[in-house]
């Protein structure tokens, strides 16, 4: 369990007496709910990266802003680390607790404070579920664009902390493009507003800096998002290819033609067969790759673009092309893709989900190399790919009950992430670094770059109390683990679609 916090290389944490800390907290926030019995802490011992579990020293479940401020002041004074947790669906261990830290659980901040359809904004508490925002906006013909696959469960505060993505990022952007303001409580217990209802604010773009900062710079207590009008129509084309490279080229052809699809997804043969076996979406199981291309917008434009895309797919050598006839078939085409992770999970006792991003042009080379590596390690890998934005999710199949297979899968995963960096990409496109990819950060960034990250952290949290040991490795860790050493975990919440 080398993933667990190691004071020797991750930094020292002060020892405190839990009872004294609880007393200090209750002295300034008498009604703040604190949990410290083992059976109460158990539900919070892990997030979506469930292979790694730690019982926090204490769980705090505030219901008011004042309680959060008081909690932060006491923790700052006593030098106690604070790990903030939203819905706990994250895949990289970003909300993994510390045994010498407080776990700040934001789930009781779950109200939509305001939805202004004319201004097309919603002001919500961080514990509000992603999908709940779109559901509330639907009455006005509006929606919140980023749609991470866990959107029925994940909360908007966690989305901001991770800069969550989804399948529509190429056209509609990530969380950073759709959040216009956040309220923060600093580790020193101050309230701070970043961004707001205006399209820009004076000074540095701290809103962008805090988005994706994995709870390392402040605690998000409120989020203002922009809402978009729902597209008039959405249509999905499914094209099958007998060659992965040809499918990859077709993606480039569509984009080079000036068309920006709402979604553009690719699956390889193993993923196709797994998904078809699971949801019977009508996927061609003999195909080496399928592309799902969703076009959305105004009826006339979608029809015109649909015809052009069909022509481009034919030219690119698609062996079959199907246009979803109605919304039901469209939902079915997507169902296979959205169920790809659990579908792959049915083929194998365990799997690792990787999250690299590569320049699209590198796709054929990277997929070929992944196949070679998989063969070398004697494991199967299914690939699902956000083809529009280059975000690749290789799923490594293994059986943890076989001795050494976990380690083999980890080694293969590490090589895949190195491959993504070598191809000009990144170790994480949307799942975050968290605890999981800390060692790979040493591959992607050099010591000067990591040092600058630490300087930024220091400006907001000089005592290193906010989520220590996540997101940015210490140089000591890189010196020790610099040679790629990857641990991945099994996914919790297997019932959630993952992409």
């Amino acid at each position: 369990m080398e993933l667990l916090f190691d004071e020797r290389i991750d930094g020292e944490i002060a020892d405190v007496d839990p009872a004294a800390l609880a007393a200090a907290i209750h002295a300034v926030a008498p009604d703040l709910v604190l949990l410290d019995r083992v059976e109460d802490l158990r539900p919070f011992e892990c997030d979506g990266l469930s292979a790694y579990r730690v019982l926090p020293m204490m769980v705090a479940m505030p219901t008011t802003l004042a309680e959060i401020e008081s909690l932060m002041r006491v923790c700052f004074e006593h030098q106690v680390p604070v790990v903030t947790r939203g819905a706990g669906t994250g895949l990289s261990g970003g909300a993994l607790p510390l045994e010498k830290g407080v776990l700040l659980v934001m789930s009781r901040f779950n109200r939509i404070l305001e939805l202004d359809a004319d201004a097309r904004i919603a002001r919500v508490q961080p514990g509000v579920r992603n999908l709940a925002i779109s559901e509330a906006a639907a009455a006005y013909g509006l929606y919140y664009a980023p749609d991470p696959s866990s959107q029925i469960a994940c909360s908007i505060g966690g989305n901001v902390a991770e800069n969550a993505g989804g399948v529509h990022c190429l056209k509609y952007g990530l969380t950073v493009h759709n959040v216009i303001g956040v309220e923060i409580v600093t580790i020193e217990g101050e309230r701070m507003t970043l961004g707001g209802e205006t399209l820009d604010t004076p000074g540095f773009d701290l809103l962008a800096l805090f988005t994706g900062s994995e709870g390392m710079l402040g605690v998000i207590t409120e989020v203002t998002v922009k809402l978009l009008p729902k597209p008039e129509v959405a249509r999905v084309l499914m094209a099958a290819f007998d060659d992965v490279e040809r499918a990859g080229r077709a993606v480039g052809d569509i984009i080079a033609a000036g068309i920006i699809p709402g979604g553009l997804e690719m699956m390889d043969n193993l993923a196709i067969r797994a998904a078809e076996d699971f949801v019977h979406a009508g996927y061609p199981v003999e195909a080496e790759a399928i592309l799902l291309c969703e076009l959305d917008g105004v009826e006339a434009d979608v029809r015109a673009d649909g015809e052009r895309v069909r022509g481009l797919l034919e030219q690119a050598g698609a062996i079959s092309i199907a246009l979803a006839r109605d919304d039901a078939e469209r939902a079915l085409f997507w169902a296979g893709r959205k169920a790809a992770f659990p579908a792959v999970g049915r083929m194998s006792p365990d799997y690792y989900c990787m999250d690299g991003t590569i320049p699209r042009r590198e796709l054929p080379r990277v997929l070929k190399r992944i196949n070679d590596l998989a063969e070398h390690y004697g494991l199967r890998v299914a690939n699902v790919f956000h083809a529009g934005d280059g975000n690749l999710h290789p799923l490594i199949l293994f059986d943890a009950n076989h001795p050494d297979e976990l380690e083999t899968a980890e080694a293969l995963g590490g090589e895949i992430l190195t491959l993504c960096v070598e191809a000009g990409g990144t170790i994480t496109g949307e799942h975050g670094v968290g605890r999981e990819k800390l060692n790979q950060m040493c591959t992607q960034f050099n010591s000067d770059e990591l040092t600058l990250f630490h300087s930024v952290k220091h400006a907001f949290d000089e005592r290193r109390l906010l989520n220590p040991g996540k997101n940015v490795p210490t140089l000591a860790r890189c010196a020790e683990h610099g040679a790629m050493h990857v641990h991945q975990g099994k996914l919790a919440h297997p019932e959630l679609p993952r992409f």
Binding site: D118, R120, Y140, G141, L142, N163, C169, G173, L174, V176, R191, G196, E197, L199, D200, P202, G203, F204, D205, A208, L209, G212, L217, E232, I255, A256, G258, I260, V298, A300, D301, T357, I358, P359, R361, E362, D389, N391, E422, A423, G424, T426, T428, G429, E430, H431, M441, T443, Q444, F445, N446, D448, E449, L452, V456, K457, A459, F460, N471, V472
Partner: protein
């Protein structure tokens, strides 16, 4: 701590390089030397590109200038990837021309304010044009930067991929920081295809009617990418597919006008912006639901209502306070003689963290000291 070896492959040399268009020179070695020397001597630097946006901040008190103009050229542009990387000194007009040859563009429509405008200066200033409410801002399209730090290190953050959540987002932090946190030497952008169809319309309306109609239209998926109001006329721009532009044009009505209005608005070439007007020019940024503040002067209202331009003789304090009172902020675009910051003051807590961030990233105040605010 021993210096860790940089194990990464060269960033700009993919194993199978896509189209590359290097049409300038790499002057980074000289830039790093200058920064290193300035750091040793503790001499502040005034960082300049085309010097077209000097009005946007305080005059920098520095005897030495760091000139980015020689560090120019498009390092990498692949239309299929929708990504372009250019050195900071590249002329913005040149980048836009090269993108245009592939029917692509910078969707955020950055103003040049002069032929010398550079890519680095554009990103440092962080100004977006009339399309901003619909397409996004400069920072929304910045994917990666290379930066020379106060220690003279040439570092890379972000990259040439659209989804990247490794580490803090330092690329976007540089946008609008006006060079106060580091010297940007290279920027990677997401670029987008130019639309197939356009229409430019003018409608005679009162501002209140225009406001109401804009709210109604904003709730529908219409291809509007520009909405500006001046003196009883609403100017609208439509961009999209032929079908949607044509049907929206018919639905909205109005008279056709030329595309020049939008370019002149972006570049402040409309009569409203003429320099012979003695009244200072102010830019307001307002919440969508705010009304115009009660200030004397003339208005030209862009961004569908949320970016009003104001010509007014009212006192700067009054303009900034009246704007802040309705949840907005005001920036003075006409330089003042007393070198007061054109930007509105920060709240106490924001000021504290701005100072801390500046102190951590530029401890000796080398980079554009006092450019944004007098004290740092």
């Amino acid at each position: 701590m021993a210096h860790l070896q940089d194990r990464r492959p060269a960033f700009t040399e993919p194993t199978e390089p896509g189209p590359t268009k290097d049409d300038g020179q790499d002057d980074s070695a000289a830039l790093i030397d200058t920064v290193t020397q300035a750091g040793r001597e503790r001499t502040p630097l005034r960082i300049v590109g085309g010097d077209t946006k000097a009005f946007l901040g305080r005059r920098v008190d520095a005897t030495k200038t760091l000139d980015l103009n020689r560090h120019a050229g498009i390092v990498h542009y692949d239309p299929v990837e929708l990504i372009a990387t250019a050195r900071a000194g590249t002329r913005l007009a040149h980048l836009e021309q090269v993108l245009g040859e592939s029917q692509q563009r910078l969707a955020f429509e950055p103003p040049h304010f002069g032929g010398g405008a550079t890519v680095g200066g554009m990103v440092a200033a962080g100004l977006s044009g009339p399309r901003r409410p619909w397409a996004g801002s400069v920072r929304d399209f910045v994917l990666g930067v290379r930066v020379i730090t106060a220690e003279g290190k040439h570092l890379r953050f972000g990259g040439e991929v659209m989804k990247n959540v490794a580490g803090y987002d330092l690329s976007r932090l540089m946008v609008g920081a006006q060079g106060t946190l580091g010297v940007m030497t290279e920027v990677s952008f997401k670029v987008l295809p130019a639309p197939v169809a356009n229409a430019w319309l003018r409608l005679s309306l009162s501002f209140e009617d225009a406001r109401q109609r804009l709210i109604e239209w904003s709730r529908l998926p219409l291809p509007i990418t520009g909405a500006a109001f001046e003196a009883g006329t609403l100017h609208l721009r439509l961009e999209g597919g032929e079908g949607s532009v044509e049907s929206t044009r018919r639905q909205i009505g109005g008279d056709a006008e030329s595309a020049d209005f939008w370019n002149d608005l972006r570049e402040h070439q409309l009569p409203f912006f003429h320099h012979d007007d003695p009244r200072p020019l102010w830019r307001l940024s307002l919440p969508a639901r705010a009304r115009l503040p009660a200030l004397d002067g003339d208005w030209l209202i862009d961004w569908g209502g949320v970016q009003p331009w104001l010509r007014s003789d009212e006192s700067p304090t009054h303009i900034q306070e009246a704007t802040a009172a309705i949840g907005g902020h005001a920036t003075r675009y006409t330089p003042s003689d007393d070198n007061v910051s054109p930007h509105p003051p920060l709240t106490a807590v924001l000021d504290k963290y701005h100072r801390r961030l500046k102190a951590r990233l530029d401890p000796n105040g080398l980079f554009n000291p006092g450019r944004l605010y007098a004290d740092w």
